[in-house]
């Protein structure tokens, strides 16, 4: 008797060998053999049936970013493969490890415009870290091993395995494959010690140093090292959007978020700093503002595991090609213990002005319609700042990033680089599935919610206890804000007629309530926090609310608006 198995079963066993226990997916014609074998392995491999393939990728992203493990997606060919494009692109921009398996028509039909055939590998090359088509069953184990190695080593990213139907049904002698080396790819470079010494020298001689902590710190789990270095040298730390929660919000050296809607202190002082240590971040244009005026007084030390980021946007004085944690470990013993009272004090007036002109009016408006910031702040406190905060994209995202607070790492998930509306709901579902012991709360607008609202069906099916705060202003708020500020208040296609969201949730068996007035807010949040199952608050938000501070397009990081008519001035 032969002990051959088919390619579909080899795929499932290879996934299990990689330690996968959860996959997100949706069956279809060209992947049926895999779903057939999956039927035999349900005790080892939990399949989450999403309601749309885009939802599968975002859920896998949420799962991956909350856990640090590779997210896995299984979908069919053609339209299913094109539906995962947005998630792939998002995952590449935000360095998220994904292995996405797409079914493909039989290899004999390739190129014939067969039913549900699309050139998946050709389409995904620019938005994946690696992609390959598999046409023989015996190639599956090695391809899966290679895919996981690539996806989650070095700078993580999405990988696509496009598996032709005949490879799924073909037979092979199954031997588990491993991959720990690819000769054309060095995922973790060896640190050049001279660079470390030079970085330490720059930091030790600096008078006004700053640390910019990015997603790379989280990916390499370097939060502890970051804090130790900052404390030893008394250096203020600011984070990028995806670097949020790499420092606890209440740490005295944590000075807030960088960028367009970040905090005034770190943005303003970027242009006062004399040395900037940038770790695992890529100087996105939303962070740098007008690039010619960015950090003119600073020597920039750029630490990144991806050398193609060096001098891409900002010219660095010194580049350290390394894993963030290894670099910080190497740097720490060379750093002098220092106190920098004067420099740290220089953040205080910025914070005072921001508190007075931006934060207090947003968090404690007292009267009028509710504001997004006030809701986010109360929700964060109600979870004792311990929840994972997920946002969609737009004003909800910026208010979420500014006013949600963190006491532990991996507590903030948002679509940063691609800015994908519709990311929030499925990402929150994936995060909750990856971290069932943690509370997961989603901040989402009425626009983005409706882009992937079908995933309420996934919550219904699996009873995923995601808490959803719908910041509902019946507007595409961020575009509205730009129209208000820069397009003479011409609100072209931004008002939205919305359905009864509570009724929709009830149809899906999800508890939900309308919060129409401030007087109802605290109690409603309390009920949501205490709920053991999914819960939605549809909060009636002031549509005129705008997110500030704001670095307008083309302005420098120290040219921030604190309201539509007033520039920040010390």
């Amino acid at each position: 008797m032969s002990n051959k198995i088919n390619g579909a079963e080899a795929l499932i066993r290879s996934l299990i060998n990689e330690g996968v226990d959860t996959v997100f997916g949706y069956p279809g014609g060209a992947i049926i053999p895999v779903y057939d074998k999956l039927y035999d392995y349900t005790s080892q491999l939990k399949h989450i049936l999403v309601r749309h393939e885009q939802g599968a990728t975002h859920a896998a992203q949420g799962y991956a970013r909350a856990t640090g493990r590779t997210g896995v997606v299984i979908v069919t060919s053609g339209p299913a493969a094109t539906n995962v494009i947005t998630g792939l692109s998002d995952a590449l921009m935000d360095s998220t490890p994904l292995v996405v398996i797409t079914g493909q028509v039989s290899s004999s039909l390739l190129g014939s415009d067969a039913f549900q055939e699309t050139d998946v590998v050709g389409i995904v090359h620019p938005i994946t870290k690696w992609a390959v088509q598999i046409r023989r069953a015996e190639d599956i184990p090695a391809a899966v091993a290679r895919a996981f190695y690539i996806a989650n080593n070095g700078r993580p990213g999405p990988v696509v395995l496009d598996i032709a139907k005949d490879a799924q049904v073909g037979l092979l002698d199954f031997k588990p494959a491993t991959c720990d080396f690819i000769r054309s790819y060095i995922p973790v470079p060896t640190i050049n010690n001279a660079d470390i010494i030079e970085a330490a020298r720059l930091l030790n001689y600096a008078e006004r140093p700053m640390i910019l902590s990015g997603h790379g710190v989280m990916i390499s789990s370097a939060e502890e090292q970051l804090q130790m270095l900052a404390e030893k040298a008394d250096i203020p730390v600011a984070t990028t959007l995806l670097g949020l929660s790499t420092m606890p919000s209440d740490h005295p050296l944590y000075k807030g978020m960088l960028g367009m809607h970040g905090n005034i202190g770190p943005n303003y002082n970027t242009n006062r700093a004399d040395v900037i240590l940038a770790i695992g971040m890529r100087f996105d244009d939303r962070v740098t503002g007008r690039i010619e005026s960015y950090a003119p007084n600073a020597k920039i030390i750029h630490v990144d595991i991806d050398s193609s980021e060096f001098n891409k946007n900002v010219k660095a004085t010194l580049t350290i090609h390394a894993d963030a944690r290894q670099a910080l470990d190497a740097l720490l013993p060379h750093i002098n213990q220092t106190r920098r009272t004067e420099w740290l004090d220089s953040f205080v007036p910025c914070e005072e002005i921001e508190t007075e002109k931006v934060i207090n009016p947003e968090l404690y408006p007292g009267e009028g319609l509710m504001k997004m910031g006030e809701v986010v702040n109360l929700v964060s406190r109600a979870f004792e700042d311990k929840a994972i905060g997920v946002t969609d994209v737009g004003q909800n995202q910026m208010f979420g990033s500014r006013y949600f607070r963190f006491t532990q790492p991996r507590s903030f998930l948002s679509s940063g680089g691609l800015g994908t509306m519709g990311f929030g709901l499925p990402a929150a579902i994936g995060a909750k599935m990856g971290c069932p012991e943690r509370e997961v709360v989603l901040f989402v607008g009425d626009g983005g919610f409706q882009m992937t609202i079908q995933e309420l069906g996934t919550i219904l099916e699996y009873g995923t206890a995601v808490k959803i705060v719908l910041l509902n202003n019946n507007f595409l708020g961020n575009v509205r804000q730009w129209q208000q500020l820069f397009f003479n208040g011409r609100f072209s296609q931004t008002p939205m007629v919305n359905p009864d969201f509570v009724a929709i949730c009830e149809a899906y068996g999800i508890k939900a309530e309308n919060v129409d007035d401030r007087s109802q807010l605290s109690d409603a949040i309390d009920r949501m926090v205490k709920s053991k199952s999914a819960y939605l608050l549809n909060v009636n938000i002031d549509p005129t609310d705008m997110i500030f501070p704001m670095i307008p397009l083309g302005a420098a990081v120290d040219e921030m608006l604190v309201n539509p008519n007033e520039m920040f001035k010390l």
Partner: protein
Amino acid sequence: MEKQLYTISVFTENNVGVLNQVTIIFTRRCINLESLSASATSIPGVHKLTLTAYGERRQMEKVVQQIEKRIDVIKAFLHTDDEIVYQEVALYKVPTDRLLIESNLENIIRHHGARILDITQEYTILEKTGHNNETEALFEELKRYDIRQFVRSGRVTVTKSPIEHVSNYIELMERLHPTTNTPDAD
């Protein structure tokens, strides 16, 4: 910054789709490729793409960084003409009767170092190897004989550097990981 012609040499694994991965990096930045050639190298399993394009140095350096980032790419280099020895080959198809009335034909062939590959009653095929300006010069000269076809290859290049970066890299990687099997040629 001034645009100039750069040669980009890309050493890759011999996998399906590598060329696509490299060229889309130019497409995304709207950089037109002037020429392209692809071939095997002296290292088993390693292929070389040679592309030329006009651009500014800073932009081209970033392009090369993005190319080298691709998993299937082993190494990528940016060169100006003075850093490499390079050649192109051109073929010219000319009506034979027009050439026969030319008393100066011998001189033209000698002067340009061209070769005749084939002669029939209808046409003659000439071949010239050299730099772009050299193959262009012969083209200009042959124009008056009513050239029927003219085609020029992409560049083939070798570096002037005494250090063989790619061979050294492969040797280093194989020392670090002697049991490695190279990916299947597809």
